[in-house]
């Protein structure tokens, strides 16, 4: 028993192989970077429903995050 872990079989048909590389993935940087640029929204006005911009805009970034990840997921989904 020299190499118990090495698979002997021929390459398995790639039925379950997922694809990870896609240019769409670059879009994911948008919701990672935007919420971190606090210089752009660290203000009280304009207010929306009484919320200072610092708060309502960051809550809005949640929607930005959801829509970006959903878009990337849909565009890179495995076709069946």
């Amino acid at each position: 028993m020299s190499e118990p872990d090495t698979p002997q079989a021929a390459p398995v048909p790639a039925v379950s192989r997922a694809k990870d590389h896609s240019p769409w993935n670059w879009l994911l940087f948008i919701p990672i970077v935007v919420p971190l640029v606090t210089l752009l929204f660290n203000y009280d006005s304009p207010r929306l429903f009484g919320f200072p911009v610092f708060y309502w805009l960051q809550l809005a970034f949640i929607l930005l995050g959801v829509s970006t990840t959903t878009l990337v997921y849909q565009m890179t989904k495995k076709r069946r």
Binding site: V15, S16, A18, D20, P31, P35, N42, D44, R47, Y55
Partner: protein, 557 residues
């Protein structure tokens, strides 16, 4: 006095017992063929679909402590506490691609913990041991924090006594129940309870964010009240927007915490329990619904300012326990029965993550310490048994932290926990992409990051609790030689940067010195395997089939 809170206590107790019953029944839910296998007990059979994973991971990441402590931060310091929102936004796109790779390689090799992966990838039991111990040490105070969350609620209901034991008896009972059903049902228990927890929390928060502004004169006047409070306070670091001093801290804390969150073993447990890559990816776009909830809960800290809430006294003379502001807000603004529901939501909200965390810590011990060093030939049933017992030990430890130590100490420890778990990033997260790093260099980097992180935390005082060391995670840049700078930066991010730098340099040195690297036990294809992969390592179900049909003896060569 607890008699004044009788309605709240009854509603709380009824809901609490209801979910405990569910916890026991959970063992039969989605009935496994054999619960005495670590895959079944510790990962729910790796079979959870979209909804269950959503509740499980959500229940895992947004804990009772978050719901109590984040508004408490806003109550005390203002905008700086809102970092929790960007932190939970950037985490999902950040891990969208990373976690599916970990899921794939774990699915194919039967990994239960991140240390299992590191063991195989870098061929180093020592590195895996370091990762496992780091995970256990970082998780323990996190469990204790869930108890701090329940304790804030119990304190508000007046369920508290004079002696140490009497004061903590309700928590000891609650945790004994939790320990019993986790022992029996494993990961299925928190997965089932998470449904109830989230339903309660969503109802409570929706009512609160509509009713409270109505009662307190609208969101505009809530923010104005907070603004007025911070203007009047002597501190220069508070306010409803950030200032020049804490902006860098806000950004680095949000980023560092996001990186840390999915390195915690318990978050990986929820992810590995899911059925397929697809389930994970869909969840990464659906989980931010919780962030919206978190953002709104955070703002309850300002609502408490507008409502004139005064926090209850802390455990040491002359301090206040800001963690009680949200429970107090509910108690003062809502009818008793609704406050009872809100308290139950927080209490149950503590049980779900505490259960998952203790399971994750137990799995680390079983796989990477017990099986690796104590009993190499442990059968799956023995593994499951050791994990069950370890999960009990972990919970007893967490209760002991709360009973015998100052709760503030658990909070400080958790802060350290975030910094130390980040030091596993090069081996675990980058390891999923590259094997460029040398195993020895990863150990050196870990040691450097850990040492620097601890030194920095030691330097930070906390004026509010009058402590000289380990008082926070905001490190003044001035101490790095930026003279006159008043800016601060998150310790964890600095430490992990140094960790990486050391890992790169030492890799180059070890490679030049031709130190052996060990063999990579994984191959490229492993990182893309999906549900229904034909080359899975035999799990519990396949194993029984193998026994039924013994394979032919290999032909002699």
């Amino acid at each position: 006095m607890w008699r004044d809170h009788l309605t709240e206590i009854i509603v709380f107790a009824v809901l609490f017992l209801l979910v405990s019953g569910m916890g026991f029944v959970a063992a039969r839910w989605r009935a496994p063929k054999d619960i005495n296998h670590l895959d079944e007990w510790g990962l729910g059979g790796r079979s959870f679909g979209g909804w269950i994973t959503w509740f499980l991971v959500g229940g895992d990441l947004y804990t009772a402590y978050t719901f109590v402590a984040v508004p408490a931060l806003l109550f005390g310091a203002g905008a700086a506490g809102f970092f929790a929102v960007p932190y939970t936004i950037i985490i999902y796109p950040l891990v969208f691609l990373v976690l599916v790779r970990l899921w794939s390689v774990s699915h194919r090799h039967g990994f239960v913990t991140p240390a299992d992966f590191v063991r195989k990838r870098f061929d180093s039991p020592t590195l895996a041991l370091i990762i496992a111990i780091t995970g256990i040490v970082a998780t323990m105070p996190y469990i204790a924090l869930q108890l701090v969350g329940i304790e804030a609620v119990l304190k508000t209901m007046g369920v508290t006594g004079e002696s140490t034991i009497a004061r903590h008896l309700p928590i000891i009972i609650a945790f004994a129940i939790l320990a019993a059903y986790t022992y029996q049902s494993g990961l299925r228990a928190p997965a089932l309870i998470a449904f109830v927890k989230d339903t309660l929390i969503y109802i409570v928060i929706l009512v609160a964010i509509i009713y409270l502004p109505y009662k307190l004169g609208g969101w505009g006047s809530i923010f104005d009240a907070a603004d007025a409070k911070f203007d009047a306070s002597p501190s220069t670091n508070d306010g409803i927007t950030l200032n020049a001093n804490n902006q860098l801290q806000y950004i680095t804390l949000a980023l560092g915490s996001a990186l840390a969150l999915f390195l915690y073993p318990h978050s990986l447990t929820g992810v590995l329990a899911s059925r397929s890559r697809d389930v994970i990816k869909r969840n990464m776009s659906a989980l931010p619904a919780y962030s919206l909830l978190l953002g709104l809960i955070a703002l309850l800290g300002y609502a408490a300012i507008a409502a004139g809430v005064t926090p209850l006294p802390g455990s040491t003379e002359g301090t206040v326990d800001n963690n009680t502001v949200v429970p107090l807000l509910f108690e003062q603004q809502f009818p008793s029965w609704f406050a009872g529901v809100a308290f139950a939501a927080i209490g149950i909200g503590a049980l779900v993550p505490a259960a998952i965390m203790s399971i994750a810590a137990a799995n680390l011990f079983t796989r990477n310490i017990y099986k690796e060093y104590l009993r190499k030939d442990a059968s799956p049933a023995q593994e499951a048994n050791v994990s069950k017992i370890t999960s009990l030990v972990v919970k007893v430890g967490a209760v002991a932290c709360i009973v015998f130590l100052d709760p503030q100490f658990s909070i400080d420890l958790q802060l350290i926990g975030g910094v130390i778990i980040l030091q596993t990033l090069p081996a675990v997260a980058l390891g999923l992409y590259t094997r460029w790093f040398h195993r020895g260099a990863l150990i050196a980097g870990w040691a450097a990051g850990m040492g620097l992180g601890m030194w920095m935390l030691y330097q930070i005082p906390n004026p509010a609790t009058k402590r000289l060391h380990f008082g926070g995670s905001a490190f003044p840049l001035e101490k790095f030689g930026f003279d006159g700078s008043t800016k601060t930066i998150y310790v964890g991010l600095v430490a992990v940067a140094v960790n990486l730098l050391v890992a790169v340099i030492v890799t180059l040195i070890l490679r030049a010195a031709k130190v052996t690297e060990g063999a990579d036990g994984t191959e490229r294809d492993d990182y893309f395997a999906d549900e229904g992969d034909p080359r899975l390592v035999p799990g519990p179900r396949q194993e029984t089939e193998l026994v039924a049909e013994p394979t032919e003896p290999a032909p002699k060569v």
